[in-house]
């Protein structure tokens, strides 16, 4: 009896997922941009209403706001504090974890939504969830000024900040001459046991693998990952551990997001940064963006929208830029003076929609290789 009940509910859920995935994927596919110059901005009537809605008065918004965040809590807390200062009547409930852990939860909760806002450290997860119908449309106030490529189809998600995948090094231990120039150098035996990176649960790492898989194909990505493992790369749960280990000299090199280098430098470590793969024939700098989305069926839509507005407002963007050395997507907000501007670099050409569609294959790949 029990068994059959599970089976039924399981099958129902699968059917639901498939239907919603197809429904979400179809329009997204037709509008998928072939290059970053043609952003996927679709304008739906519902979105217009949202766009034209006047900014809600701060004191009118009250009650709870449930945030699921794939961003590490220490990096998000200052933003929540600033938001709280502006909306004192909102009680913020935060659950921080990995992107995929929370994505699992959101899929699981589709019939019984708990969260209002989801924040991720890369775009593939939000895109993939958007295709599964997890989010509702919302175009935050001021979203018009964001680069169009960082807005999800149907306004199902909104990009927040940009980050680059870089290599940081301990300048006490590595000379300028021997520095790697490409992420493929990390499999060089001369770095055996000297490299730290984040493991398979980390969203930024997952996204880098997914991007690489799109750029160079399954085989080469598999070879690269196997190379890392064979080269005794140490995989940590998060990047803070990586940057601290490199800063302390435990490792010579670390594969991180760019701001971890700046955070470590701010702590007084003698570390350096390499923006890899800029040479002729190399893949270019892999970048990604953090994003936020309002959950479909969110119990506290008002607070969720207020929070989304805040995230893309100059005030919110400034916090990300200043406190965390990220690249704000809002052009009017200035970069932290220490941070090297991105326009000096050549980017890897990654299609978010396609990468998101192939995300499951990326997980299979990590499992096949046995990435810790």
């Amino acid at each position: 009896m029990l068994v059959s009940q599970f089976k039924v509910s399981f099958i129902l859920l699968m059917v639901m997922l498939i239907v919603s995935a197809c429904g979400g994927a179809a329009p997204a596919a037709t509008e998928a941009p072939t290059s970053t110059d043609e952003p996927p901005v679709s304008v739906l009537p519902a979105t217009d209403v949202a766009t034209e809605a006047p900014a809600v008065e701060a004191n009118d918004v009250s009650g709870q706001l449930v945030i699921y965040s794939g961003r590490a809590e220490p990096l998000l807390q200052p933003v929540i504090d600033a938001f709280k200062a502006k909306y004192p009547n909102v009680e913020v409930l935060l659950k921080a974890g990995s992107n995929s852990e929370l994505a699992n939860a959101l899929i699981e909760e589709q019939a019984n939504p708990q969260a209002d806002v989801f924040i991720t450290t890369e775009l593939f997860t939000v895109q993939s969830l958007a295709q599964q119908g997890v989010f509702q449309s919302y175009r935050p106030v001021g979203a018009d000024q964001l680069p169009a490529e960082f807005l999800g189809a149907d306004n199902l998600w909104t990009g927040l900040t940009r980050r680059a995948r870089v290599i940081m090094y301990n300048a006490d231990l590595v000379t300028q001459q021997e520095l790697p120039t490409s992420i493929f150098d990390l499999t060089d035996p001369k770095w055996k046991g000297q490299v730290a990176a984040a493991g398979s649960t980390n969203g930024s790492m997952q996204a880098q693998i997914a991007a690489l898989r799109q750029l160079n194909g399954e085989e080469e990505t598999l070879a690269w990952l196997s190379g890392l493992i064979a080269n005794e790369v140490t995989f940590f749960g998060g990047h803070t551990d990586v940057r601290k280990a490199v800063g302390a000299g435990e490792f010579k090199l670390g594969l991180v997001n760019h701001y971890y280098y700046y955070l470590q430098k701010a702590e007084g470590s003698n570390v350096g940064i390499i923006f890899p793969d800029q040479g002729e024939g190399q893949i270019g700098l892999i970048t990604n963006a953090t994003a936020a989305a309002v959950v479909n069926g969110a119990p506290h839509v008002d607070a969720a929208q207020a929070f989304m507005d805040f995230l893309v407002s100059p005030e919110g963007q400034k916090l990300f830029a200043e406190q965390n050395y990220e690249y704000p997507l809002l052009p009017s907000v200035e970069l932290h003076p220490d941070v090297q501007p991105l326009d000096e670099f050549r980017f890897a050409d990654v299609n978010v929609v396609e990468a998101a569609q192939d995300f499951a294959a990326t997980f299979d790949l990590m499992e096949t290789v046995g990435l810790p």
Binding site: E73, V92, N104
Partner: protein, 533 residues
């Protein structure tokens, strides 16, 4: 001698409790067997054998390490004239208040190669890197876990050393055995069933351990399941791994349950007389430093380091502000969440254990014994596995409970029910049935008898069981991490959120508080132990 082999009301209540315990277990097996063959194939190709090897090697290493440490420490404090043995008794048992992952955090911060406090201090003294043992990987994990699990064995063997009749050893001496030969040929074999049961409990703990191995980067079944759960969209691989892990754990639990029946060594006879302590002579000082070393590594250093870090945090307003707040919640809410969820779990587990224990102790038969043993299966379901099944089950069957703290409480109850069942059974076993019969002949119904006679008399035993559940729930990490609703952070979660990201000092206040909150019920529990009387 009972004539009515079944009390229908009690049997039904006990059966319902067993059913409650069974659901997550059955569900995991259904999911594991129902996983598509590809998931099995992928796992069997690469991962399972490595995980199995890793897990078993760690399990064997820690279990032997804990046995060796626990028994030798017990021998020192109970059988020799070790200086300070009275205070050492307490200090050797107190590490039970420190979750292994917190101990791991401290040792990792101290000893981490090149980055740790000690290697850095040595480097600045000698001007060059000095080799220090690494707390990472297999050896580190085995070392740390041994440090924080040996107290189980210590308590069991100290009690056993204490209760063993002196004449047993004296008899061996009259048959021409030296003290050392007596220890190995008579004393230790006599303690064997109890010690083996203790060792198997340690083994079950290791199977369930997530925090420490994740922190020290050693991959076992539990940590791999956690990675699967937080790293992938589909749960079939996690289910497969969980199924195998639970089968492994049930085998160990089965052995433990079989040994439990034989472990009757702690009963003191009326003419009991302690064996005279062995004079250590010139070995007194080395023995003292050996015991002091164990106590330092497992208790003094962690507590002192946590205290120092906590003070540092308090002195820095910025970190303090960060530590004491997440979302809208503050430190007070973590403490409160920890206390009430663990407290409610303890209360529920004890209440649920009562019909099971009453049924098995007062109406012993095959069915009631089976129910009682079955309700102890929680020992064999690691936190990650309970979390996996509850996430899926509760959301589908009880959506109103989903994403409430009560799911976390349910997980604690399921996981720690065995301790409550055992405590209730032992309390009832010590109560003569004639006490209840006397009450019946004096005009009380069975319910009145339970309330007026049985309950007041077994209350200390129930409190002990509740304390144990409270203590272990307070420490529970993986289930809390995976099941907590947004905004529901416990002390354990707080410790982990910071420590997993490498912010050790920031993790300290919550860790220190967790240790202190555990020390209190532990103190109460230890007071009941023979060796502290």
């Amino acid at each position: 001698m009972r004539s009515n082999p079944i009390s229908p009301r009690l049997a039904i209540a006990a059966g319902l409790v067993a059913l409650f315990v069974a659901v997550p277990l059955v569900y995991i097996f259904i999911r594991a067997l129902g996983a598509e063959p590809e998931a099995w194939q992928r796992l069997f190709q690469a991962r399972i054998w490595k995980l199995l090897g890793n897990t078993l090697i760690l399990l064997i290493a820690v279990t032997s390490g804990a046995l060796l440490t626990g028994v030798s420490m017990a021998w020192f404090t109970e059988r020799t004239d070790l200086p300070g043995r009275k205070i050492f008794r307490w200090m050797l048992a107190m590490p039970l208040a420190i979750p292994a992952y917190i101990g791991g955090i401290v040792h990792l911060a101290l000893l981490r190669p090149r980055g740790g406090y000690i290697p850095q201090a040595l480097e600045s003294i000698f001007g060059q890197p000095v080799f220090t043992p690494s707390p990472l990987g297999f050896f580190g994990a085995a070392f740390i876990l041994t440090l924080f699990t040996y107290p189980y064995v210590y308590l069991l063997s100290a009690a056993a050393f204490r209760s063993l009749h002196a004449s047993l050893e004296e008899a061996a001496r009259t048959f021409g055995r030296s003290p050392l030969q007596t220890l190995f040929q008579v004393t230790l074999p006599a303690l064997r069933p109890g010690l083996a049961a203790g060792a198997l409990l340690v083994a079950l703990d290791i199977l369930a351990e997530y925090g420490t191995v994740a922190l020290l980067r050693y991959e076992t079944f539990s940590s791999a399941i956690f990675v699967q759960l937080s790293g992938r969209y589909d749960r079939s691989a996690a289910s497969v791994l969980s199924g195998i892990l639970v089968v492994l754990a049930i085998l160990i639990l089965w052995g433990e349950l079989r040994l439990q029946g034989q472990a009757r060594f702690t009963q003191m006879e009326s003419n009991w007389r302690p064996a005279p302590p062995l004079a250590l002579g010139k070995w007194r000082l080395p023995a003292f430093f050996l015991v002091l070393g164990v106590v330092s590594a497992s208790l003094l250093v962690p507590v002192v380091v946590l205290a120092v870090w906590s003070i540092q945090t308090f002195l820095d307003p910025q970190t303090m502000a960060a530590v004491f707040r997440t979302g809208s919640q503050g430190f007070g809410s973590y403490v409160w969440n920890s206390l009430w969820s663990s407290g409610l779990a303890a209360l529920t587990a004890v209440l649920l254990s009562l019909p099971v224990a009453l049924n098995s102790v007062r109406y012993p038969n095959r069915f009631s014994r089976f129910i009682s043993r079955f309700c102890q299966v929680g020992y064999a379901i690691p936190g990650v596995v309970i979390a996996l099944s509850l996430v899926l089950l509760v959301n589908r069957l009880l959506p109103f409970l989903y994403a409430t703290p009560f799911v976390v409480v349910i997980a604690y109850v399921l996981r720690h029910m065995p301790q409550a069942v055992r405590a209730s059974e032992s309390a009832l076993n010590q109560l003569s049935p004639s006490m209840e019969e006397a009450s019946r002949t004096l005009g009380r119904t069975s319910l009145q008898t339970f309330v007026q006679v049985t309950l007041p008399l077994i209350l200390p035993g129930l409190l002990a069981g509740g304390s144990l559940v409270f203590l272990t729930s307070l420490k529970e990490l993986p289930a809390t991490l995976l099941l907590r609703p947004a905004g529901f952070d416990t002390l354990a979660v707080r410790v982990w959120m910071w420590a997993a990201d490498g912010f050790y000092t920031q993790a300290a206040p919550a860790a220190l508080f967790l240790v202190l909150a555990s020390a209190l019920p532990l103190y109460f529990l230890l007071r009941r132990e023979q060796i502290f009387k």
